[in-house]
Protein backbone atom coordinates (compact mmCIF):
# COMPACT_ATOMS: atom_id res chain seq x y z
CA UNK A 1 0.00 0.00 0.00
CA UNK A 2 1.34 3.43 -0.75
CA UNK A 3 1.82 5.53 2.35
CA UNK A 4 1.22 4.76 6.01
CA UNK A 5 -2.22 3.75 7.22
CA UNK A 6 -4.59 6.61 8.04
CA UNK A 7 -7.09 4.44 9.86
CA UNK A 8 -8.14 5.60 13.32
CA UNK A 9 -10.43 3.22 15.23
CA UNK A 10 -13.44 5.15 16.52
CA UNK A 11 -14.86 2.89 19.23
CA UNK A 12 -13.73 0.57 21.97
CA UNK A 13 -14.70 -2.47 19.95
CA UNK A 14 -12.85 -1.39 16.79
CA UNK A 15 -9.74 -0.55 18.86
CA UNK A 16 -9.97 -4.02 20.44
CA UNK A 17 -10.39 -5.68 17.04
CA UNK A 18 -7.68 -3.59 15.38
CA UNK A 19 -5.01 -4.94 17.72
CA UNK A 20 -6.14 -8.51 17.12
CA UNK A 21 -7.15 -8.65 13.44
CA UNK A 22 -6.75 -5.34 11.58
CA UNK A 23 -9.51 -6.21 9.14
CA UNK A 24 -11.22 -2.81 9.29
CA UNK A 25 -7.86 -1.08 8.87
CA UNK A 26 -7.23 -3.16 5.77
CA UNK A 27 -10.65 -2.32 4.35
CA UNK A 28 -10.21 1.37 5.16
CA UNK A 29 -6.77 1.60 3.59
CA UNK A 30 -7.61 -0.34 0.44
CA UNK A 31 -11.18 0.69 -0.27
CA UNK A 32 -11.76 4.07 1.38
CA UNK A 33 -8.66 6.18 1.83
CA UNK A 34 -6.62 4.62 -0.98
CA UNK A 35 -4.96 7.46 -2.91
CA UNK A 36 -6.12 7.29 -6.52
CA UNK A 37 -5.04 9.52 -9.43
CA UNK A 38 -7.58 12.32 -9.80
CA UNK A 39 -7.79 12.04 -13.59
CA UNK A 40 -9.18 8.51 -14.04
CA UNK A 41 -11.81 8.52 -16.79
CA UNK A 42 -14.72 6.29 -17.80
CA UNK A 43 -12.44 3.54 -19.08
CA UNK A 44 -11.11 3.00 -15.56
CA UNK A 45 -14.54 1.95 -14.29
CA UNK A 46 -14.22 -1.51 -15.83
CA UNK A 47 -12.33 -2.94 -12.87
CA UNK A 48 -15.39 -2.35 -10.72
CA UNK A 49 -17.68 -3.50 -13.53
CA UNK A 50 -15.72 -6.76 -13.85
CA UNK A 51 -15.94 -7.36 -10.10
CA UNK A 52 -19.69 -6.88 -10.45
CA UNK A 53 -19.77 -9.41 -13.34
CA UNK A 54 -17.84 -12.01 -11.37
CA UNK A 55 -20.22 -11.59 -8.44
CA UNK A 56 -23.27 -11.96 -10.70
CA UNK A 57 -21.89 -15.11 -12.31
CA UNK A 58 -21.04 -16.72 -8.97
CA UNK A 59 -24.41 -15.94 -7.37
CA UNK A 60 -26.52 -17.00 -10.36
CA UNK A 61 -24.27 -20.02 -10.93
CA UNK A 62 -24.66 -21.29 -7.37
CA UNK A 63 -28.45 -21.23 -7.59
CA UNK A 64 -28.51 -22.74 -11.10
CA UNK A 65 -26.36 -25.61 -9.84
CA UNK A 66 -29.19 -26.40 -7.37
CA UNK A 67 -31.42 -27.30 -10.34
CA UNK A 68 -28.94 -28.70 -12.85
CA UNK A 69 -28.51 -32.44 -13.46
CA UNK A 70 -24.97 -33.40 -14.37
CA UNK A 71 -25.63 -36.33 -16.64
CA UNK A 72 -25.43 -37.06 -20.34
CA UNK A 73 -27.60 -40.15 -19.82
CA UNK A 74 -30.73 -40.29 -21.98
CA UNK A 75 -33.46 -38.08 -20.58
CA UNK A 76 -37.23 -38.24 -20.82
CA UNK A 77 -37.16 -38.08 -24.62
CA UNK A 78 -34.88 -40.27 -26.79
CA UNK A 79 -32.02 -38.17 -28.12
CA UNK A 80 -32.24 -35.81 -25.18
CA UNK A 81 -30.20 -36.06 -21.99
CA UNK A 82 -30.81 -35.46 -18.30
CA UNK A 83 -28.55 -32.40 -18.44
CA UNK A 84 -30.40 -30.92 -21.41
CA UNK A 85 -33.76 -31.71 -19.79
CA UNK A 86 -32.74 -30.08 -16.53
CA UNK A 87 -31.80 -26.87 -18.36
CA UNK A 88 -35.21 -26.90 -20.06
CA UNK A 89 -36.74 -27.54 -16.65
CA UNK A 90 -34.92 -24.47 -15.33
CA UNK A 91 -36.23 -22.43 -18.27
CA UNK A 92 -39.86 -23.57 -17.96
CA UNK A 93 -40.67 -24.81 -14.47
CA UNK A 94 -38.22 -23.49 -11.88
CA UNK A 95 -39.46 -20.23 -10.35
CA UNK A 96 -37.62 -17.42 -12.13
CA UNK A 97 -35.37 -20.09 -13.63
CA UNK A 98 -35.57 -18.41 -17.05
CA UNK A 99 -34.33 -15.17 -15.51
CA UNK A 100 -31.48 -16.76 -13.59
CA UNK A 101 -30.27 -18.75 -16.58
CA UNK A 102 -30.54 -15.84 -18.98
CA UNK A 103 -28.59 -13.65 -16.54
CA UNK A 104 -25.92 -16.35 -16.23
CA UNK A 105 -25.65 -17.07 -19.96
CA UNK A 106 -25.67 -13.42 -21.02
CA UNK A 107 -23.54 -12.58 -18.00
CA UNK A 108 -20.70 -14.46 -19.65
CA UNK A 109 -21.01 -12.21 -22.71
CA UNK A 110 -21.15 -9.05 -20.61
CA UNK A 111 -18.16 -10.29 -18.62
CA UNK A 112 -16.12 -10.70 -21.80
CA UNK A 113 -17.32 -7.39 -23.22
CA UNK A 114 -16.07 -5.70 -20.06
CA UNK A 115 -12.80 -7.63 -19.93
CA UNK A 116 -11.96 -6.77 -23.55
CA UNK A 117 -12.57 -3.07 -22.91
CA UNK A 118 -10.47 -3.37 -19.75
CA UNK A 119 -7.64 -5.02 -21.71
CA UNK A 120 -7.73 -2.49 -24.56
CA UNK A 121 -7.74 0.26 -21.93
CA UNK A 122 -4.60 -1.20 -20.38
CA UNK A 123 -3.04 -1.49 -23.81
CA UNK A 124 -3.88 2.10 -24.79
CA UNK A 125 -2.66 3.78 -21.61
CA UNK A 126 0.38 1.50 -21.22
CA UNK A 127 -0.84 0.07 -17.92
CA UNK A 128 1.31 -3.04 -18.45
CA UNK A 129 4.58 -1.08 -18.32
CA UNK A 130 6.91 -1.01 -15.33
CA UNK A 131 6.18 -1.19 -12.46
CA UNK A 132 2.90 -2.94 -13.31
CA UNK A 133 4.17 -6.03 -15.18
CA UNK A 134 2.99 -8.51 -12.56
CA UNK A 135 -0.38 -6.77 -12.39
CA UNK A 136 -0.73 -7.21 -16.16
CA UNK A 137 0.39 -10.86 -16.17
CA UNK A 138 -2.10 -11.67 -13.41
CA UNK A 139 -4.71 -10.11 -15.68
CA UNK A 140 -3.69 -12.40 -18.55
CA UNK A 141 -4.01 -15.37 -16.17
CA UNK A 142 -7.49 -14.21 -15.15
CA UNK A 143 -8.44 -13.92 -18.81
CA UNK A 144 -7.21 -17.47 -19.51
CA UNK A 145 -9.18 -18.78 -16.52
CA UNK A 146 -12.24 -16.90 -17.79
CA UNK A 147 -11.94 -18.54 -21.22
CA UNK A 148 -11.62 -21.99 -19.62
CA UNK A 149 -14.58 -21.36 -17.31
CA UNK A 150 -16.80 -19.99 -20.09
CA UNK A 151 -15.92 -22.90 -22.35
CA UNK A 152 -16.78 -25.51 -19.74
CA UNK A 153 -19.96 -23.68 -18.79
CA UNK A 154 -21.01 -23.61 -22.44
CA UNK A 155 -20.73 -27.40 -22.55
CA UNK A 156 -23.08 -28.00 -19.61
CA UNK A 157 -26.51 -27.57 -21.34
CA UNK A 158 -25.43 -30.50 -23.55
CA UNK A 159 -26.90 -29.10 -26.75
CA UNK A 160 -25.38 -29.54 -30.20
CA UNK A 161 -23.04 -26.55 -29.86
CA UNK A 162 -22.07 -27.66 -26.35
CA UNK A 163 -21.11 -31.11 -27.54
CA UNK A 164 -19.23 -30.05 -30.65
CA UNK A 165 -17.45 -27.19 -28.93
CA UNK A 166 -16.21 -29.69 -26.37
CA UNK A 167 -15.14 -32.07 -29.15
CA UNK A 168 -13.26 -29.47 -31.18
CA UNK A 169 -11.52 -27.77 -28.25
CA UNK A 170 -10.38 -30.98 -26.57
CA UNK A 171 -9.17 -32.24 -29.96
CA UNK A 172 -6.79 -29.26 -30.10
CA UNK A 173 -4.55 -31.37 -27.87
CA UNK A 174 -4.48 -34.22 -30.40
CA UNK A 175 -2.33 -31.99 -32.61
CA UNK A 176 0.56 -32.94 -30.32
CA UNK A 177 0.48 -36.36 -32.01
CA UNK A 178 2.28 -34.73 -34.91
CA UNK A 179 5.40 -34.07 -32.87
CA UNK A 180 5.37 -37.08 -30.56
CA UNK A 181 5.85 -39.79 -33.19
CA UNK A 182 4.25 -43.13 -32.41
CA UNK A 183 3.60 -42.22 -28.78
CA UNK A 184 0.37 -40.39 -29.68
CA UNK A 185 0.80 -38.12 -26.65
CA UNK A 186 -1.91 -35.78 -27.91
CA UNK A 187 -4.52 -38.51 -28.29
CA UNK A 188 -3.73 -39.78 -24.81
CA UNK A 189 -4.23 -36.30 -23.40
CA UNK A 190 -7.56 -35.99 -25.24
CA UNK A 191 -8.70 -39.38 -23.90
CA UNK A 192 -7.60 -38.34 -20.43
CA UNK A 193 -9.60 -35.12 -20.70
CA UNK A 194 -12.69 -36.99 -21.90
CA UNK A 195 -12.51 -39.96 -19.52
CA UNK A 196 -13.72 -41.92 -22.52
CA UNK A 197 -12.85 -42.36 -26.19
CA UNK A 198 -15.17 -39.51 -27.08
CA UNK A 199 -16.80 -36.56 -25.33
CA UNK A 200 -19.42 -38.13 -23.10
CA UNK A 201 -20.92 -38.44 -19.65
CA UNK A 202 -17.54 -38.52 -17.91
CA UNK A 203 -16.54 -35.32 -19.73
CA UNK A 204 -19.73 -33.51 -18.71
CA UNK A 205 -19.27 -34.44 -15.05
CA UNK A 206 -15.70 -33.21 -14.80
CA UNK A 207 -16.49 -30.04 -16.71
CA UNK A 208 -19.26 -29.26 -14.23
CA UNK A 209 -16.92 -29.88 -11.30
CA UNK A 210 -14.29 -27.55 -12.77
CA UNK A 211 -16.84 -24.97 -13.92
CA UNK A 212 -17.94 -24.67 -10.30
CA UNK A 213 -14.37 -24.48 -9.01
CA UNK A 214 -12.72 -22.07 -11.43
CA UNK A 215 -14.73 -18.92 -10.58
CA UNK A 216 -13.39 -19.14 -7.04
CA UNK A 217 -9.86 -19.50 -8.39
CA UNK A 218 -10.58 -16.43 -10.52
CA UNK A 219 -11.76 -14.59 -7.42
CA UNK A 220 -8.49 -15.51 -5.70
CA UNK A 221 -6.38 -14.30 -8.62
CA UNK A 222 -8.49 -11.12 -8.74
CA UNK A 223 -7.41 -10.64 -5.13
CA UNK A 224 -3.77 -10.88 -6.21
CA UNK A 225 -4.51 -8.59 -9.18
CA UNK A 226 -5.87 -5.91 -6.84
CA UNK A 227 -2.99 -6.43 -4.44
CA UNK A 228 -0.55 -5.94 -7.31
CA UNK A 229 -2.51 -2.84 -8.33
CA UNK A 230 -2.28 -1.35 -4.86
CA UNK A 231 1.49 -1.60 -4.63
CA UNK A 232 2.30 0.96 -7.39
CA UNK A 233 -1.24 2.39 -7.42
CA UNK A 234 -3.36 3.06 -10.51
CA UNK A 235 -1.93 4.10 -13.83
CA UNK A 236 -3.90 6.97 -15.38
CA UNK A 237 -4.78 8.38 -18.80
CA UNK A 238 -1.65 10.56 -18.82
CA UNK A 239 0.53 7.57 -18.03
CA UNK A 240 2.73 9.67 -15.72
CA UNK A 241 3.57 8.84 -12.13
CA UNK A 242 1.74 10.32 -9.19
CA UNK A 243 4.13 12.93 -7.76
CA UNK A 244 2.38 13.85 -4.55
CA UNK A 245 -0.90 14.16 -2.68
CA UNK A 246 -2.06 16.96 -5.02
CA UNK A 247 -2.32 14.35 -7.81
CA UNK A 248 -4.64 11.97 -5.97
CA UNK A 249 -8.05 11.71 -4.37
CA UNK A 250 -9.20 9.22 -1.77
CA UNK A 251 -10.91 6.25 -3.41
CA UNK A 252 -14.02 6.93 -1.34
CA UNK A 253 -16.22 8.81 -2.10
CA UNK A 254 -14.71 9.95 -5.40
CA UNK A 255 -14.25 6.64 -7.15
CA UNK A 256 -16.75 4.54 -5.24
CA UNK A 257 -19.43 6.88 -6.54
CA UNK A 258 -17.99 7.16 -10.03
CA UNK A 259 -17.60 3.37 -10.33
CA UNK A 260 -21.08 2.79 -8.93
CA UNK A 261 -22.54 5.13 -11.55
CA UNK A 262 -20.89 3.25 -14.40
CA UNK A 263 -21.77 -0.14 -12.90
CA UNK A 264 -25.39 1.05 -12.94
CA UNK A 265 -25.13 2.07 -16.62
CA UNK A 266 -23.54 -1.28 -17.41
CA UNK A 267 -26.32 -3.07 -15.51
CA UNK A 268 -28.90 -1.25 -17.66
CA UNK A 269 -27.25 -2.57 -20.82
CA UNK A 270 -27.00 -6.01 -19.19
CA UNK A 271 -30.70 -5.95 -18.27
CA UNK A 272 -31.66 -4.82 -21.77
CA UNK A 273 -29.88 -7.86 -23.19
CA UNK A 274 -31.42 -10.25 -20.65
CA UNK A 275 -34.98 -8.97 -20.98
CA UNK A 276 -35.26 -7.91 -24.62
CA UNK A 277 -32.80 -10.10 -26.53
CA UNK A 278 -31.80 -13.01 -24.28
CA UNK A 279 -30.88 -15.24 -27.21
CA UNK A 280 -29.16 -12.56 -29.27
CA UNK A 281 -25.63 -13.84 -28.76
CA UNK A 282 -26.58 -17.49 -28.22
CA UNK A 283 -26.58 -20.08 -30.97
CA UNK A 284 -30.04 -21.58 -31.71
CA UNK A 285 -28.41 -24.95 -32.43
CA UNK A 286 -27.72 -25.29 -28.73
CA UNK A 287 -31.44 -25.85 -28.16
CA UNK A 288 -31.03 -29.10 -30.12
CA UNK A 289 -29.94 -31.97 -27.83
CA UNK A 290 -26.35 -33.15 -28.36
CA UNK A 291 -26.01 -35.73 -31.13
CA UNK A 292 -22.59 -37.41 -31.30
CA UNK A 293 -23.24 -38.57 -34.87
CA UNK A 294 -24.12 -35.26 -36.54
CA UNK A 295 -22.02 -32.12 -36.50
CA UNK A 296 -24.07 -28.93 -37.07
CA UNK A 297 -23.56 -27.41 -40.53
CA UNK A 298 -22.08 -24.23 -39.14
CA UNK A 299 -20.16 -24.66 -35.95
CA UNK A 300 -19.22 -21.31 -34.47
CA UNK A 301 -17.90 -20.46 -30.99
CA UNK A 302 -19.38 -17.73 -28.85
CA UNK A 303 -18.62 -14.22 -30.13
CA UNK A 304 -15.90 -13.55 -27.59
CA UNK A 305 -13.69 -16.31 -29.00
CA UNK A 306 -14.29 -15.62 -32.70
CA UNK A 307 -10.99 -13.79 -33.39
CA UNK A 308 -8.98 -16.75 -32.09
CA UNK A 309 -11.21 -19.18 -33.97
CA UNK A 310 -10.56 -17.23 -37.19
CA UNK A 311 -6.80 -17.57 -36.62
CA UNK A 312 -7.08 -21.32 -36.06
CA UNK A 313 -9.18 -21.79 -39.17
CA UNK A 314 -6.97 -19.68 -41.42
CA UNK A 315 -3.95 -21.97 -40.93
CA UNK A 316 -4.02 -25.04 -43.19
CA UNK A 317 -1.71 -27.07 -40.95
CA UNK A 318 -3.20 -28.53 -37.78
CA UNK A 319 -0.35 -28.18 -35.29
CA UNK A 320 0.66 -24.74 -36.54
CA UNK A 321 -2.96 -23.63 -36.31
CA UNK A 322 -3.17 -24.72 -32.69
CA UNK A 323 0.15 -23.05 -31.83
CA UNK A 324 -0.96 -19.79 -33.47
CA UNK A 325 -4.17 -19.94 -31.45
CA UNK A 326 -2.37 -20.52 -28.15
CA UNK A 327 0.40 -18.04 -28.94
CA UNK A 328 -2.13 -15.28 -29.59
CA UNK A 329 -3.04 -15.28 -25.90
CA UNK A 330 0.40 -16.18 -24.59
CA UNK A 331 2.04 -13.25 -26.36
CA UNK A 332 0.02 -10.88 -24.16
CA UNK A 333 2.06 -11.96 -21.15
CA UNK A 334 5.25 -10.65 -22.76
CA UNK A 335 4.20 -7.19 -23.86
CA UNK A 336 5.62 -5.43 -20.79
CA UNK A 337 9.01 -6.27 -22.33
CA UNK A 338 8.06 -6.05 -25.99
CA UNK A 339 7.04 -2.40 -25.68
CA UNK A 340 10.28 -0.40 -25.74
CA UNK A 341 8.74 3.06 -25.36
CA UNK A 342 9.60 5.24 -22.36
CA UNK A 343 6.13 6.74 -22.54
CA UNK A 344 3.15 4.81 -21.23
CA UNK A 345 0.06 6.55 -22.56
CA UNK A 346 -0.85 6.56 -26.24
CA UNK A 347 -2.06 10.13 -25.73
CA UNK A 348 1.56 11.13 -26.21
CA UNK A 349 2.45 8.52 -28.82
CA UNK A 350 1.20 9.82 -32.19
CA UNK A 351 2.50 6.85 -34.21
CA UNK A 352 1.63 4.06 -31.78
CA UNK A 353 -1.87 5.45 -31.41
CA UNK A 354 -2.56 4.73 -35.09
CA UNK A 355 -1.22 1.20 -34.84
CA UNK A 356 -3.32 0.71 -31.71
CA UNK A 357 -6.58 1.62 -33.43
CA UNK A 358 -5.62 -0.51 -36.41
CA UNK A 359 -5.13 -3.35 -33.92
CA UNK A 360 -8.64 -2.80 -32.51
CA UNK A 361 -10.04 -2.90 -36.07
CA UNK A 362 -7.96 -6.01 -36.75
CA UNK A 363 -9.45 -7.84 -33.76
CA UNK A 364 -12.98 -6.93 -34.89
CA UNK A 365 -12.20 -8.01 -38.45
CA UNK A 366 -10.83 -11.34 -37.22
CA UNK A 367 -14.01 -11.74 -35.20
CA UNK A 368 -16.07 -11.16 -38.33
CA UNK A 369 -14.00 -13.72 -40.27
CA UNK A 370 -14.55 -16.27 -37.50
CA UNK A 371 -18.31 -15.76 -37.60
CA UNK A 372 -18.63 -16.57 -41.31
CA UNK A 373 -18.60 -19.92 -43.13
CA UNK A 374 -15.35 -21.52 -44.27
CA UNK A 375 -15.73 -20.48 -47.90
CA UNK A 376 -17.15 -16.97 -47.37
CA UNK A 377 -15.74 -13.93 -49.17
CA UNK A 378 -15.54 -10.21 -48.38
CA UNK A 379 -15.79 -7.94 -51.46
CA UNK A 380 -14.54 -10.83 -53.57
CA UNK A 381 -11.59 -11.72 -51.31
CA UNK A 382 -11.79 -15.16 -49.66
CA UNK A 383 -12.19 -14.57 -45.93
CA UNK A 384 -9.53 -17.13 -45.19
CA UNK A 385 -7.02 -14.70 -46.71
CA UNK A 386 -8.47 -11.78 -44.79
CA UNK A 387 -8.05 -13.87 -41.64
CA UNK A 388 -4.46 -14.73 -42.58
CA UNK A 389 -3.59 -11.05 -43.02
CA UNK A 390 -5.42 -10.28 -39.78
CA UNK A 391 -3.43 -12.95 -37.96
CA UNK A 392 -0.17 -11.58 -39.35
CA UNK A 393 -1.05 -8.07 -38.17
CA UNK A 394 -2.11 -9.39 -34.75
CA UNK A 395 1.31 -10.94 -34.23
CA UNK A 396 3.21 -8.13 -35.92
CA UNK A 397 1.56 -5.62 -33.60
CA UNK A 398 3.13 -7.27 -30.57
CA UNK A 399 6.36 -8.70 -31.97
CA UNK A 400 7.43 -6.00 -34.47
CA UNK A 401 5.46 -2.79 -34.04
CA UNK A 402 5.69 -2.59 -30.25
CA UNK A 403 9.49 -2.96 -30.09
CA UNK A 404 10.23 -0.83 -33.18
CA UNK A 405 7.79 2.04 -32.75
CA UNK A 406 9.03 2.54 -29.20
CA UNK A 407 12.48 3.21 -30.65
CA UNK A 408 11.70 5.30 -33.74
CA UNK A 409 8.79 7.34 -32.44
CA UNK A 410 9.22 10.82 -30.95
CA UNK A 411 6.63 11.11 -28.21
CA UNK A 412 4.87 14.38 -27.49
CA UNK A 413 6.10 16.23 -24.37
CA UNK A 414 4.61 14.86 -21.16
CA UNK A 415 2.77 17.18 -18.74
CA UNK A 416 4.46 18.16 -15.47
CA UNK A 417 1.95 16.57 -13.22
CA UNK A 418 -1.54 15.17 -13.01
CA UNK A 419 -2.95 18.00 -10.89
CA UNK A 420 -1.62 20.74 -13.19
CA UNK A 421 -2.91 18.93 -16.24
CA UNK A 422 -6.36 18.41 -14.74
CA UNK A 423 -6.86 21.71 -12.90
CA UNK A 424 -4.78 23.99 -15.12
CA UNK A 425 -2.63 26.78 -13.66
CA UNK A 426 -4.84 27.04 -10.58
CA UNK A 427 -3.52 23.76 -9.25
CA UNK A 428 -2.39 24.06 -5.68
CA UNK A 429 1.32 23.51 -5.25
CA UNK A 430 2.43 20.42 -3.46
CA UNK A 431 1.58 20.63 0.21
Amino acid sequence: MSGPSTYVPQSGFTRWLDSRLPLLRFAHDTMLSFPTPRNLNFWYAFGAILTFCLGVQIVTGIVLAMHFTTSAMVGSVPGSSLAFDSVENIMRDVNYGWLLRYIHANGASMFFLAVYIHMFRGLYYGSYKAPREVLWILGVIIYLLMVATAFMGYVLPWGQMSFWAATVITNLFSSLDQISGGLKVGSHIATWLWGDFAVGDATLNRFFSLHYLLPFIIAAVVGLHIWALHVPGNNNPLGIDVKGPQDTLPFHPYYTVKDAFYVALFAILFAALVFFAPDLVGNPDNYIPANPLVTPADIVPEWYLLPFYAMLRSIPQKLVGVLVLGGAILVLAFIPWLDTSRVRSNRFRPLMKQFFWLFVVDCLLLGYCGSQGVDATLVGVPLVWVARLGTIYYYAFFLLIMPLVGIIETPKPLPDGIAKSVLGASAAPAE
Binding site: W164, T167, V168, T170, N171, L172, S174, Q178, T191, W192, L193, W194, G195, D196, F197, A198, V199, G200, A202, R206, P292, L293, V294, T295, P296, A297, D298, I299, L312, R313, I315, P316, Q317, K318, L319, G321, G373, V374, D375
Partner: protein
Protein backbone atom coordinates in the same frame (compact mmCIF):
# COMPACT_ATOMS: atom_id res chain seq x y z
CA UNK B 1 20.89 -25.34 14.64
CA UNK B 2 24.59 -26.05 14.45
CA UNK B 3 26.44 -23.00 13.28
CA UNK B 4 29.75 -24.62 12.45
CA UNK B 5 30.30 -25.32 8.75
CA UNK B 6 32.35 -28.21 7.48
CA UNK B 7 33.57 -29.01 3.98
CA UNK B 8 32.37 -32.59 4.33
CA UNK B 9 28.61 -33.16 4.10
CA UNK B 10 27.35 -34.02 7.55
CA UNK B 11 24.97 -36.74 8.57
CA UNK B 12 22.37 -33.99 9.07
CA UNK B 13 22.79 -32.90 5.42
CA UNK B 14 22.20 -36.44 4.35
CA UNK B 15 19.07 -36.69 6.48
CA UNK B 16 17.72 -33.43 5.01
CA UNK B 17 18.23 -34.59 1.44
CA UNK B 18 16.90 -38.08 2.11
CA UNK B 19 13.81 -36.72 3.87
CA UNK B 20 13.14 -34.22 1.10
CA UNK B 21 13.58 -36.83 -1.62
CA UNK B 22 11.27 -39.25 0.20
CA UNK B 23 8.63 -36.53 0.58
CA UNK B 24 8.85 -35.70 -3.15
CA UNK B 25 8.45 -39.37 -4.12
CA UNK B 26 5.57 -39.76 -1.71
CA UNK B 27 3.84 -36.66 -3.10
CA UNK B 28 4.27 -37.88 -6.66
CA UNK B 29 2.82 -41.29 -5.77
CA UNK B 30 -0.10 -39.68 -3.94
CA UNK B 31 -0.89 -37.46 -6.94
CA UNK B 32 -1.14 -40.33 -9.42
CA UNK B 33 -4.62 -41.58 -8.38
CA UNK B 34 -5.92 -38.04 -8.79
CA UNK B 35 -4.56 -37.90 -12.34
CA UNK B 36 -5.45 -41.43 -13.37
CA UNK B 37 -9.06 -41.17 -12.17
CA UNK B 38 -9.67 -38.99 -15.22
CA UNK B 39 -8.73 -41.76 -17.68
CA UNK B 40 -11.49 -44.02 -19.09
CA UNK B 41 -12.95 -46.25 -16.37
CA UNK B 42 -13.16 -50.05 -16.53
CA UNK B 43 -16.80 -49.75 -17.56
CA UNK B 44 -15.83 -47.60 -20.52
CA UNK B 45 -12.95 -49.91 -21.48
CA UNK B 46 -15.32 -52.88 -21.49
CA UNK B 47 -17.23 -51.42 -24.46
CA UNK B 48 -18.14 -54.19 -26.85
CA UNK B 49 -17.66 -54.34 -30.59
CA UNK B 50 -20.63 -53.82 -32.89
CA UNK B 51 -22.16 -55.66 -35.81
CA UNK B 52 -23.53 -53.86 -38.87
CA UNK B 53 -26.06 -55.32 -41.29
CA UNK B 54 -25.06 -54.29 -44.81
CA UNK B 55 -28.15 -55.67 -46.59
CA UNK B 56 -30.36 -52.54 -46.49
CA UNK B 57 -27.64 -50.19 -47.78
CA UNK B 58 -28.10 -49.22 -51.44
CA UNK B 59 -25.36 -48.53 -53.97
CA UNK B 60 -24.27 -44.91 -53.57
CA UNK B 61 -25.59 -44.70 -50.01
CA UNK B 62 -23.62 -43.88 -46.86
CA UNK B 63 -24.91 -44.62 -43.37
CA UNK B 64 -23.59 -43.55 -39.98
CA UNK B 65 -23.52 -45.91 -37.00
CA UNK B 66 -22.23 -45.33 -33.49
CA UNK B 67 -19.04 -47.15 -32.59
CA UNK B 68 -17.32 -46.53 -29.23
CA UNK B 69 -19.11 -43.22 -28.89
CA UNK B 70 -17.96 -42.01 -32.30
CA UNK B 71 -19.69 -42.03 -35.67
CA UNK B 72 -18.60 -44.70 -38.14
CA UNK B 73 -19.34 -44.35 -41.85
CA UNK B 74 -20.40 -47.42 -43.82
CA UNK B 75 -20.55 -46.49 -47.50
CA UNK B 76 -21.54 -48.62 -50.47
CA UNK B 77 -19.63 -47.01 -53.27
CA UNK B 78 -20.82 -46.70 -56.83
CA UNK B 79 -18.53 -47.95 -59.64
CA UNK B 80 -17.87 -44.29 -60.55
CA UNK B 81 -16.76 -43.48 -56.98
CA UNK B 82 -14.49 -46.52 -56.92
CA UNK B 83 -12.98 -45.55 -60.27
CA UNK B 84 -12.37 -42.00 -59.06
CA UNK B 85 -10.63 -43.21 -55.93
CA UNK B 86 -8.48 -45.66 -57.89
CA UNK B 87 -7.44 -43.03 -60.43
CA UNK B 88 -5.69 -40.86 -57.79
CA UNK B 89 -1.89 -40.96 -57.84
CA UNK B 90 -0.25 -41.61 -54.46
CA UNK B 91 1.80 -38.46 -54.93
CA UNK B 92 -1.42 -36.40 -54.85
CA UNK B 93 -2.24 -37.53 -51.33
CA UNK B 94 -1.29 -35.28 -48.38
CA UNK B 95 -1.25 -38.39 -46.17
CA UNK B 96 0.42 -41.31 -48.01
CA UNK B 97 -0.34 -43.91 -45.30
CA UNK B 98 -3.43 -46.14 -45.42
CA UNK B 99 -4.39 -45.65 -41.72
CA UNK B 100 -6.03 -49.05 -41.88
CA UNK B 101 -5.86 -51.02 -38.63
CA UNK B 102 -6.31 -54.22 -40.61
CA UNK B 103 -3.01 -53.61 -42.43
CA UNK B 104 0.57 -52.84 -41.35
CA UNK B 105 1.17 -49.26 -40.12
CA UNK B 106 3.22 -48.32 -43.17
CA UNK B 107 0.83 -49.61 -45.85
CA UNK B 108 0.50 -47.01 -48.64
CA UNK B 109 -2.82 -45.19 -49.02
CA UNK B 110 -3.87 -46.82 -52.27
CA UNK B 111 -7.60 -47.30 -52.67
CA UNK B 112 -7.15 -51.07 -52.43
CA UNK B 113 -5.53 -50.65 -49.02
CA UNK B 114 -8.53 -48.69 -47.76
CA UNK B 115 -11.08 -51.50 -47.91
CA UNK B 116 -11.51 -55.25 -47.85
CA UNK B 117 -14.07 -55.28 -50.67
CA UNK B 118 -14.00 -52.39 -53.17
CA UNK B 119 -17.70 -51.68 -52.86
CA UNK B 120 -17.71 -51.28 -49.07
CA UNK B 121 -15.82 -48.47 -47.40
CA UNK B 122 -15.83 -48.60 -43.60
CA UNK B 123 -14.17 -45.50 -42.10
CA UNK B 124 -14.28 -43.54 -38.87
CA UNK B 125 -16.55 -40.50 -39.03
CA UNK B 126 -14.16 -38.43 -36.95
CA UNK B 127 -12.40 -35.68 -38.89
CA UNK B 128 -8.69 -35.98 -38.19
CA UNK B 129 -8.46 -32.21 -37.76
CA UNK B 130 -10.49 -31.48 -34.64
CA UNK B 131 -12.99 -34.32 -34.41
CA UNK B 132 -16.12 -33.01 -36.15
CA UNK B 133 -18.25 -35.34 -38.22
CA UNK B 134 -17.82 -34.65 -41.97
CA UNK B 135 -20.85 -34.61 -44.30
CA UNK B 136 -20.99 -37.21 -47.07
CA UNK B 137 -21.25 -36.41 -50.80
CA UNK B 138 -19.92 -32.88 -50.39
CA UNK B 139 -16.68 -31.13 -51.27
CA UNK B 140 -14.55 -31.13 -54.40
CA UNK B 141 -13.69 -34.82 -54.21
CA UNK B 142 -17.17 -36.31 -53.77
CA UNK B 143 -16.29 -37.99 -50.49
CA UNK B 144 -16.82 -35.93 -47.38
CA UNK B 145 -16.62 -32.27 -46.43
CA UNK B 146 -16.06 -31.24 -42.83
CA UNK B 147 -18.05 -28.05 -42.24
CA UNK B 148 -16.12 -27.10 -39.13
CA UNK B 149 -12.86 -26.11 -40.76
CA UNK B 150 -13.21 -27.12 -44.39
CA UNK B 151 -11.29 -30.42 -44.63
CA UNK B 152 -12.21 -32.43 -47.73
CA UNK B 153 -11.98 -36.21 -48.16
CA UNK B 154 -12.24 -38.29 -51.33
CA UNK B 155 -14.38 -41.37 -51.98
CA UNK B 156 -11.80 -43.53 -50.19
CA UNK B 157 -11.96 -41.29 -47.09
CA UNK B 158 -8.50 -39.88 -47.77
CA UNK B 159 -7.67 -36.30 -46.88
CA UNK B 160 -7.25 -34.20 -50.03
CA UNK B 161 -7.60 -30.57 -49.00
CA UNK B 162 -7.86 -28.50 -45.81
CA UNK B 163 -6.25 -28.57 -42.37
CA UNK B 164 -6.79 -32.24 -41.41
CA UNK B 165 -3.45 -34.08 -41.27
CA UNK B 166 -4.55 -37.68 -41.81
CA UNK B 167 -6.88 -39.92 -43.78
CA UNK B 168 -10.06 -41.02 -41.98
CA UNK B 169 -9.07 -43.97 -39.80
CA UNK B 170 -10.24 -47.49 -40.59
CA UNK B 171 -10.96 -49.65 -37.53
CA UNK B 172 -10.44 -53.40 -37.42
CA UNK B 173 -13.42 -55.18 -38.90
CA UNK B 174 -14.26 -58.53 -40.45
CA UNK B 175 -17.00 -59.94 -42.66
CA UNK B 176 -19.16 -62.40 -40.71
CA UNK B 177 -21.16 -63.05 -43.86
CA UNK B 178 -21.33 -61.25 -47.22
CA UNK B 179 -23.94 -58.86 -45.72
CA UNK B 180 -22.74 -58.54 -42.14
CA UNK B 181 -19.58 -57.08 -40.60
CA UNK B 182 -18.24 -56.99 -37.07
CA UNK B 183 -16.35 -53.81 -36.15
CA UNK B 184 -13.86 -53.65 -33.29
Amino acid sequence: MATSTTAEPTRRDFLYVATGAMAAVGAAVAVWPFIDQMNPSSAVLALASIEVDLAPIQVGQSITVKFRGHPLFVRRRSPKEIAEARAVALSDLPDPVARNENLPDDAPATDANRETKPEWLIVSGVCTHLGCTPTAFEGDFGGWLCHCHGSQYDTAGRIRKGPAPQNLAIPTYAYLSPTRIKVG
